[in-house]
C-alpha cells in the first residue's frame, strides 16, 4: 500500500484573524449562562420567602389548605410573587434540565424527544400556573363554605 502523494502547492498556509474587532453577539449558550445567574439570586429571595411564610409562620405545613391559599392570592402582591416565582423557576429549572439532557443524551433522536418533552412540560406548567393564579376564584359558589377563607362570608 502506498500512501497518497498529492501534488504539493508551496506557500505558507497563513491564517489571519477574520473578526477584526468589536464584540461577538452572545450566543444561545451565553444567554443561558447569564440567565441562570440572574434568575438564581431572584429565586433565592422569592423561594425562601415563600417557604418561610408557608412552612414556618403560623402553623407551618398544617395551616396549608384551600383557605390559606385563597387568602394569600386575594392580595395582588402574592399573585405577582407566585407567578414570578413560577415562571422564573420553570425557566431556570427547564434550562438546567436542558443542559443535563445535552450532557447525558448522546443520541440525537433521544435528545430531540427529551428536549420536546421538556419544552411541553415547561410551557404547559407555566400556562397552567398562570391560568390558575389569574382566574382563581377564592369563593367558588358551589363550595362548602367551611372550606373557604373567612372573607368569603362578606362576599356572599
Amino acid at each position: 500500500m502506498t500512501a497518497s502523494s498529492a501534488p504539493f502547492t508551496p506557500g505558507p498556509k497563513i491564517k489571519e484573524p477574520r473578526i477584526r474587532s468589536g464584540r461577538l453577539r452572545p450566543g444561545a449558550e451565553q444567554w443561558s449562562w447569564r440567565f441562570m445567574r440572574i434568575s438564581g439570586p431572584l429565586l433565592v429571595v422569592l423561594i425562601l420567602t415563600h417557604l418561610f411564610i408557608n412552612l414556618l409562620t403560623g402553623d407551618g405545613v398544617n395551616q396549608i389548605d384551600f383557605a390559606f391559599v385563597a387568602g394569600k392570592w386575594a392580595s395582588p402582591l402574592w399573585q405577582v410573587w407566585d407567578i414570578l416565582m413560577l415562571v422564573l423557576a420553570m425557566l431556570h429549572g427547564g434550562n438546567g434540565m436542558r443542559l443535563l439532557i445535552n450532557d447525558y443524551a448522546h443520541h440525537a433522536t433521544l435528545r430531540k424527544v427529551l428536549h420536546s418533552a421538556l419544552g411541553v412540560a415547561v410551557i404547559g406548567i407555566i400556562v397552567l400556573g398562570a391560568l390558575v393564579i389569574f382566574t382563581f376564584d377564592p369563593c367558588p359558589l358551589d363550595a362548602d363554605p367551611s372550606l373557604l377563607p373567612s372573607f368569603c362570608e362578606d362576599v356572599r
Partner: protein
C-alpha cells in the same frame, strides 16, 4: 513543604514494600482476559519514600512485568507524558512521591478518564490534541511584522503568564466531570490554550478564538467543578482562566 533535616537524596532512607493496584488492559487480550477488557493487577515493589510513582512503575516494568505499558519521558514534570489517575486523582507519576500517598495502603493507578484506553495506562491522546488545535493556538497578527521585536510591557506579559506554563498533559481535561459526561466539551486545556493568546497584547485573533469558545462545546459548558485546577501539575489556575474567558465574552473586556 517543610525541609527535612537530612537530605533524602543522600541520607539513609529506609526501603519499604509498597503495593500498586494497576488497572490494566491488553489490546490483544491475554489468556484470562478479552482484548481491551480492563482488570486489576497488584504488584509489590521495594521502594523508598522519596521515590516517585514513576520509579515504582519502572521497577515493575523492568523487574517484574515488561508488558506494563505507560508513557513517560522527562521524569521531572515538564513534558506531560505521564498523567494518570493515582489514588483517584489525576497526577503526573513523575511528580508524585510515594511518601505523599500513604504507602501503607495499596496505591491505585488507572489511566486518565474520558479518552479511549489503548493499553494499560496509555490512552488515545488524539481527541485531546484535536481540541487544542481547534482553538487556533498560535499568534495571529495583521499587517507587517516590525523589524525588531514587538514591544510588550512586563505587566502585559504577566497577564497571560500563568497559562503559558501548560505542558499539554491532559490532567485537567480528563478530570473534568463535564468532559466525562459528553466528550463534546473542548475541555479546560483548550480554554487554557486559548487564554494564553486571548490575553497576549500582541495577538489580534482573540475574537476568532472567543467565537469558537462561545459555541456549544465551549466555555459555557464549564460548571466550575474545579477538578481541573486541582489536577493541574503546573499549578495553573485553570478555572480562573476559564472564568476570565467567560468574562471577556460577556463584557468585551480583557
Amino acid at each position: 513543604m517543610t525541609a527535612t533535616a537530612e537530605s533524602p537524596a543522600v541520607g539513609e532512607v529506609k526501603a519499604m514494600t509498597v503495593t500498586l493496584r494497576i488497572l490494566r488492559s491488553k489490546p490483544e487480550g491475554t489468556d484470562e482476559h478479552k482484548p481491551g477488557e480492563q482488570y486489576w493487577q497488584e504488584f509489590q515493589v521495594e521502594a523508598h519514600a522519596t521515590d516517585r510513582v514513576l520509579d515504582a512503575l519502572h521497577k515493575i516494568k523492568w523487574e517484574q512485568d515488561g508488558s506494563l505499558a505507560f508513557r513517560r519521558s522527562c521524569a521531572h514534570g515538564v513534558c506531560g507524558s505521564d498523567a494518570m489517575r493515582i489514588n483517584a486523582r489525576n497526577r503526573l507519576a513523575c511528580k508524585t512521591l510515594l511518601k505523599d500517598l500513604n504507602p501503607a495502603k495499596p496505591i491505585i493507578v488507572e489511566p486518565i478518564k474520558g479518552l479511549p484506553v489503548e493499553k494499560d495506562l496509555i490512552v488515545d491522546m488524539e481527541p485531546f490534541f484535536a481540541s487544542y488545535r481547534e482553538i487556533m493556538p498560535f499568534l495571529m497578527t495583521t499587517g507587517n511584522a516590525p523589524a525588531r521585536e514587538r514591544l510588550q510591557s512586563s505587566e502585559q506579559r504577566d497577564r497571560f503568564d500563568d497559562t503559558t506554563k501548560c505542558i499539554l498533559c491532559a490532567a485537567c481535561t480528563t478530570s473534568c466531570p463535564v468532559f466525562w459526561t459528553d466528550g463534546q466539551y473542548f475541555g479546560p486545556q483548550a480554554i487554557v490554550g486559548a487564554h494564553r493568546f486571548i490575553f497576549d497584547s500582541r495577538d489580534e485573533g482573540q475574537w476568532d478564538r472567543l467565537e469558537i469558545l462561545n459555541d456549544k462545546a465551549g466555555v459555557w459548558k464549564c460548571r466550575t467543578a474545579f477538578n481541573c485546577t486541582e489536577a493541574c501539575p503546573r499549578g495553573i489556575e485553570v478555572t480562573k482562566a476559564i472564568s476570565e474567558v467567560k468574562h471577556a465574552l460577556t463584557t468585551g473586556e480583557f
